[in-house]
Every structure is written in C-alpha cells, then in structure tokens.
Symmetry: C2
Subunit: 248 residues, 2 copies
C-alpha cells in the first residue's frame, strides 16, 4: 500500500476561487447487492486481497475511473456486471459516505448503490476474487466487514425494509415469473414477520402491477399456484392509498 498524495503544480495554481481543487479525495462506488437464497435475504461480499483490511469481507466496489466511467451510475453498473455478470433489474443510489477516517489511506468518499436481483443458480462470478453470498441477520452479517461497510449495510437493509412497505421493489428479488405465495414469502423473509394472505393478495392485486401468465406452477404439494409476471419491470410504482393527501 502506498499513499499517493495528489497535488497540482503549486506554482501554476494560486488560490482561484472557482478552480477545481488541488488535493482531492479518492472517490469510489460500492454496491449492496441483495438476493433471496435458501429462504434468506443474502448480500454479496468480496474478500479483500490487498491492504487495508486484507482477507476481510467487504462490499464489492472500487474506485471511479475517470477515463472509463461516464457517470457515477455507469460506474455502479460496470461494477455490478463485473461482480455478478448480471444486469440487475433494480439499482438505486443509497447514500454517499465520506470522511477522513473511513479509509486509513486518506480522505475517501464512496457512493453506495443497492441492487436487487433474482437468485442465480449459476453462483456469483467465476473470478479470481473470493466472492460469496452472506445471509443477512438482523441488520447485518455474521462476520467483520472492512471499512465502515457494516454501517452501510445496516442502512441498506433499513432502506430495503422501509421501501417494501410502499413500493413493489420486492418483485426484483424474484425471477421474471413467480407466484403470489412466493412473493409473499419474499416479503415475510425480509420483514421478518408473517403476513396475512388475504390482505397481501388484496394489496398486490389492487396495485394492479402484476399480470397473469397462462401456465401454472406446481409446488411440492397442494394446489398449484397461478404464475404472475411484473407488468412494467421498469416503471417505479407505488401502492395506492398508503398515503393519501387529504384533499378538500
């Protein structure tokens, strides 16, 4: 590890009020990638191969490449594909964390995105890096995380839970086709709480975001369930009447 303080040529840049600043923080993008595997909410982690925090698990991510990356979001997308090989159906900016202390090498800032994807049996990456899915317990994982990643993960879990209550994002944790009981189980796993079947179905169908698929899917036993597909995979939709302005 080497600290490379980056300074402009001091002689050529006297304090100009609106010039780009000389000494700059290092800027990275990290990802919190969620999926449902084995009836658990899991998050993708990478084992660090270099200092600092060698051998420690961390959120996948990396420094912005000003040559390659057009924008923060495209950097996040690039990293996502690098790690998972998947264009995850849902990617949302979570928050930016930056301070002098969070990385021993110096001032860094990281913009964190969180992504949702269906569990891919093809496991994460065939890469040189050690990558694994780690089950989420409470609001974190059962191992030490590098940097401030434990806090970041906790924020992401909280955001995921709270967004479940007023959006449809959970569908992005399932394959394109799924049944209502599967969707309900997804909610229950994340919220860690059983839900009433009738209320859940009413809520989902009233939102009018799913469309039936002709075929049926059979589970282990019992009556087969209707298969659904998310109507508009891109549109950001909200449950009705979760908040209603009380108009006059």
């Amino acid at each position: 590890m080497k600290i490379t303080p980056v300074k402009p040529d001091a002689a050529e840049s006297p304090p100009q009020p609106n010039a780009l600043p000389g000494e700059r923080a290092a800027f990275s993008v990290d990802l919190v990638i969620f999926t449902i595997r084995s009836q658990r909410l899991q998050v993708l982690l990478v084992k660090r191969a270099d200092p600092p925090f060698v051998g420690c698990w961390a959120l996948p991510g990396g420094f912005l490449d000003v040559e390659m990356d057009e924008s923060i979001e495209s950097c996040a997308l690039r990293r996502l594909v690098e790690k998972t090989g998947v264009h995850a159906p849902y990617l949302e900016q979570l928050k930016t964390y930056g301070s002098r202390e969070r990385d021993p090498r110096g001032w860094t800032a990281t913009t964190v995105y969180f992504a949702l994807m269906a569990s891919d049996p093809a496991a994460p990456g065939k890469q040189r890096e050690a990558v694994r899915w780690m089950p989420v317990q409470g609001d974190g994982v059962n191992c030490e995380l590098a940097f401030d990643h434990a806090g970041i993960l906790a924020d992401a879990v909280e955001r995921l839970r709270s967004k479940l209550e007023y959006t449809h994002i959970a569908v992005h944790l399932l394959p394109e086709e799924f049944t209502l009981p599967e969707l309900q189980r997804t909610y229950e796993i994340i919220l860690q709480q059983p839900l009433d079947k009738s209320s859940f179905r009413r809520r989902v169908t009233q939102a009018d975001m799913l469309e039936e698929v002709a075929g049926k899917l059979r589970d282990g036993c019992g009556r087969p369930a209707q298969v659904y597909r998310f109507r508009d995979y891109d549109r950001r939709t909200f449950f009705p009447r979760s908040i209603s302005r009380y108009a006059r």
Copy 2:
C-alpha cells in the same frame, strides 16, 4: 479557468489493484436550502462570480477541502453556516450527482444536501457574494441555473413534498413557536393544495409531536390561535398509521 489534470507520478505507481486511484474526480458539496417567505417556498441561490457559468445563479456549495473538512456532512454544515450564518435545524443528504459532463472543467461529483430553516428577517448573508432567496414555482425557479442544478432542485422539491406526507419536517420551516394554522399553511404552500382543517389537526395532534405553549398568539383578526412548540426538535418522527404493516 484552468484545467489542472491531476496525475500521480506514473513511474512510481504501476497499476496496483487496491491503491488509491491516480486521476481523481473533483468532489464538491452543494446545498438546497429551503425556507418559507412571503407565503412562498423559496430556495437560496448564489450568483456565480467565476467561470464556468459566470453570472448565472447556482445552488450554494463548494469543493471539499480535505484539510479542513472531517467528513462530507461537516463540509455541508460549514458551507451552510458560510451562506446563511444559521445552523439550520434540518439537514439531510439528498443524492450525489457525478459525471464527466456536468462541469465543463472535467469529471466532478457533488453530494447535495437539503436544508430547512425558518425565514430569517435578517436576510441571507452580508457577504461579498450575491445571494438571494428565489421563489420555487412548480418544481423549479424562474431563472436559468448553472450546471445540472435545475435537475437537482427538482429532485429536492420532490423529496420535500413526498416527505411532508409521512414526516414532520415542515416544522423546521417555521420558528420554534408557531400555531397550527401557520403549520397548516406551510403544508398547503408546499403541497400547493388546500387541506381540511379538522383532518390536519387530528393528524398533527395524534402524532403527539407538539406541545402547547402557555401564551397565545394573535393574528390579524379573529380568534387567537394556540401557540405550539415542536416537542423533540431532533428526533426523527413519523406519522402513525401512514403505513401499517398488516401483522397477523
């Protein structure tokens, strides 16, 4: 304006996978500061004195100073005090915008915070800079803004409106003591929609976040209104039952 590409000593830093990156984006913090003035939602803008966008109005902010600023948030607080002289009661990170195109000088990223404050009759700043409150119309202002600030402002207005529906943040737009009709008018101004008095009061009082102040405040005419104070100015509180998990 001068472009100062910042590169590490190429001879000394061969591609190290986890070293801090050489060429870095410039990183800044911008603020969307809201208040209510003259029965309007207004936002604080600064007239740019230097290129790019000389003479154009822009959101206040500036580059991170890695010497001075401990963290992004402390940088935001510093800038806020610089511009307003006020420790605004509410400061929240909005989003981070970064791309190669948003600033003609090169790759920049900016983390934007939005702040709420009571209208201060002492006007904004006695500074050399031209600073003014600009009324918000729809989701923007009636003038050109520098960089991508118009889009940022629109995002901030949207966030403010949507947060009104399930939090109490509007109280931070009023002085410490206020009446319920004043609070309701604040909501109506921001949501651009009349609200029912009875429903509004029920909502506010049920949330149990206000406490009465002994005295009364008289308005222009009519019956004087009870004065209230926000119970816990720091606690982040939510309206009850705006979303209820349907527990079993």
